[in-house]
Symmetry: C2
Subunit: 455 residues, 2 copies
């Protein structure tokens, strides 16, 4: 496995585990190592290379998360099939370069996007007239007032049917996935299928709760169903409305297929409705939960992305079988969101301010997206293309000429342009944080820096 | 193990697992089963009794948490030594009855205890003049402004020496212990010693992160050191300022012994500084962290207990070795506390409002405690005694005559008296939620209900 020519460089700016990771990744991508080949165990690899097991573990984790290798229970690690049949539609995506900061910075907003006056009015309401409620601890599941508003909102906006009793509130999607991991184990479910590539921030949680992660390649239609079957997982995590990092939307055929799969294995789907509210053209994409007649979808939503980045309120909607297990857990874990902020948000929603806010940011993003897209299409150097996208806060740029990515990212950051590399051939450009009258200038600058960065 | 006379009652108001739990507990307490006897595996016990493994697991978990049994790696479960030598000082505490709601309700406060005007002023400051800060996501570690205030506060109030870089903020002690569990595993630490009896809410977290929990009996001086040594654990969790549920304070000799232990095993101590701020007589008890010269204490503090029950802000202070591991994790987990509330609290502390608040509630609790104690001492029926306590919001009542506890708790709850049973011989009475002029009346009522509940 480890080429005799493979030498670790102690003075490299890459950490040792990154060097190991890159070496294995290159061997797989170049086809030097065939699919389903067994690779050395962590112990053996560490011995071969004279490194600590920790270093090997880190390298293997990254490879697992990105889907280059897979593990079989008690048998070891094997090279994944990343062959052309699987990801043929997006060949440029199979070459995933190491992204140093795996947490996407999805929580930025322009200064003109939020109505602080209306928000403060809700605080006043709570702090002046309802402050007796603040003298007792929050309900472990979340405040009644907020769950009621969320139930109405998800029905109207996302076609999600739910009883407010099934809503659980928590300080971020990671907190809720932690609780969910505990519930999965209670239900004797030990492994979970995830999109590959996908949200590493979600996978950290599953991993830290010792769930066995099964990365499933994504195709143009959603998850690669054969691989999903093969994985033997009964639960999968997907973000069908806005697959991270590509922003792809799972077509309804893929959704239906996924629901059929869940029914056939008596399984469940965790639907992270990430960024669904940020679609600013076309019709809203229906939620999986709304399509589901079998009570097999756990729906996850968050206010951090769309309301205010500093607000940490997310929610999940549990199918009945999960809810029953959760009831036994309710007393064990305290609520993580401030009661004040829950009540404030409930007022904001009840007063119609949240809907007004959504309309406002959708409009703003749509205008900005139009300006940025047009400007980039005119200015981009040859070999770089604007990919289709009609949601979110980023414009995806596809490279068909090699670019010195790290240098590019650094230069952008130095002049205040927010970009995020996803693969060697894909870069996300955040237009949403820019004021409208700065977008032309920013697009010019980006085009210039791109030109400078060709290899 | 399972007496041939042991019959499960399907119609009992006790759940099946509670019946199993009680049966085993009684066998151990009565001496029918000797210390270090191996008990059936979960699988075997389930087969013997014709119950699900889940039921047995629940019963064993409860017994483990309360220290009646212990587990050995890969070998199974054994009866703990609960003999007189270990807990001789508190014999009435060895008879721990099943407490249906294991989460202590420590977060109640009287309506006159909090200055909402000052609090709201801090919100205005943030929402009006610093709202640009709310447009970006919170720092994963916690806001600079708040960490700065906490560093000053813990030094002045608790003698804790720390650099603000070492402070990590989270939405409650459970969130921080979850992160800590991940760090412990990163450091290849797989087991943790905890006080027995102790905070079940803390133990759930360790358990859900698959740490092997070693319950160590408490003595008059702190942890039973021989048992701690025997456990082979390298990390222990203690609440030296206010051991839950007894409220006992670990004497300095016990603290020094614990620090010596940590140095001798190259280990660490997690110090939960629970309720230290609520001492209203005598001098503050020094923190373990302040006594420690070896950088071996993780200090945990929370604002929920003392500030406002609805606020979910806790913090931990990491020794350098933990901090280095944490650095690698920072990007993986997002901050769980709302940035708004962090900044508001930072203002509240900076303006001196937090100190004023502490002085106010200490004074109020001290007055109320005096009234309640005096009233109860006059009115309590024979065989019930007020135990010494000079902190917290409860007066412990010790019973030397058998009492129908469940009935008593129900009756108290029906008339609005907050009591919490700890063991068959110990009941905590919350005086702090009562208005001053209601305490005499409440004490009368409590005395009356106690009289009615004698067996």
């Amino acid at each position: 496995m480890f080429d005799t020519l493979f030498r670790l460089e102690r003075n490299s700016k890459d950490a040792l585990y990154v060097q190991v990771y890159k070496h294995i990744k290159d061997s797989i991508e170049s086809g030097k190592v065939k699919a389903h080949t067994k690779i050395p165990s962590i112990r053996q690899g560490a011995a071969d290379l004279g490194l600590s097991r920790r270093t090997l573990e880190n390298a293997y984790s990254q490879l697992l998360l990105e889907g280059y290798i897979y593990s079989k229970d008690r048998s070891g690690y094997y090279v994944s099939d990343i062959g052309d049949s699987v990801i043929s539609a997006n060949t440029h995506e199979t070459k995933i370069s190491f992204v140093p900061k795996p947490v996407p910075n999805r929580y930025f907003m322009g200064v003109d996007h939020f109505d602080f006056t209306a928000w403060r009015k809700c605080y006043d309401q709570v702090l002046l007239y309802e402050n007796d409620k603040l003298l007792t601890e929050a309900s472990p599941q979340g405040e009644y007032e907020l769950r009621k508003e969320i139930a109405e909102y998800v029905l109207q906006a996302r076609g999600v049917h739910c009883n407010m009793d099934r809503i659980v509130i928590g300080a971020g999607v990671q907190v809720l996935l932690g609780l969910l991991s505990v519930l999965l184990r209670e239900m004797s479910i030990r492994s979970i299928a995830v999109e590959s590539p996908g949200f590493t921030e979600v996978q950290h949680v599953f991993k830290d709760y010792f769930l066995d992660i099964k990365p499933i390649p994504i195709t143009g239609h959603g998850l690669h169903m054969k691989e999903l079957m093969k994985s033997k997982a009964r639960v999968c995590y997907v973000s069908p409305t806005h697959q991270y990092p590509t922003g792809a939307i799972m077509p309804v055929s893929g959704r239906v297929e996924l629901l059929r799969w869940a029914a056939s294995v008596d399984g469940f789907i965790i639907e992270d409705d990430y960024d669904s509210e940020l679609r600013y053209s076309g019709r809203p994409v229906p939620s999986l939960q709304g399509l589901d007649s079998g009570d097999r979808v756990i729906f996850l939503g968050s206010f951090s992305t769309i309301l205010l980045p500093s607000v940490r309120i997310s929610y999940m909607i549990l199918p009945e079988r999960f809810y029953r297990v959760y009831r036994g857990y309710m007393d064990k874990y305290r609520q993580t969101v401030s009661k004040t902020e829950q009540l404030v948000l409930a007022h904001f929603m009840k007063d119609g301010e949240f809907q007004r806010h959504l309309r406002r940011i959708r409009k703003k993003f749509s205008v900005k997206h139009g300006i940025a897209r047009e400007a980039l299409e005119k200015r981009l150097p040859e070999g770089i293309f604007v990919e289709d996208s009609s949601s979110g806060v980023h414009i995806p740029l596809r490279f068909e000429r090699p670019v010195r990515m790290e240098e590019l990212v650094e230069k952008c950051s130095a002049v205040g342009l927010k970009v995020r590399p996803i693969t060697e051939g894909l870069l996300m450009f955040n237009f949403a944080i820019l004021a409208e009258d700065k977008i032309l200038e920013a697009s010019d600058k980006l085009a210039e820096l791109l030109e400078e960065s060709f290899v």
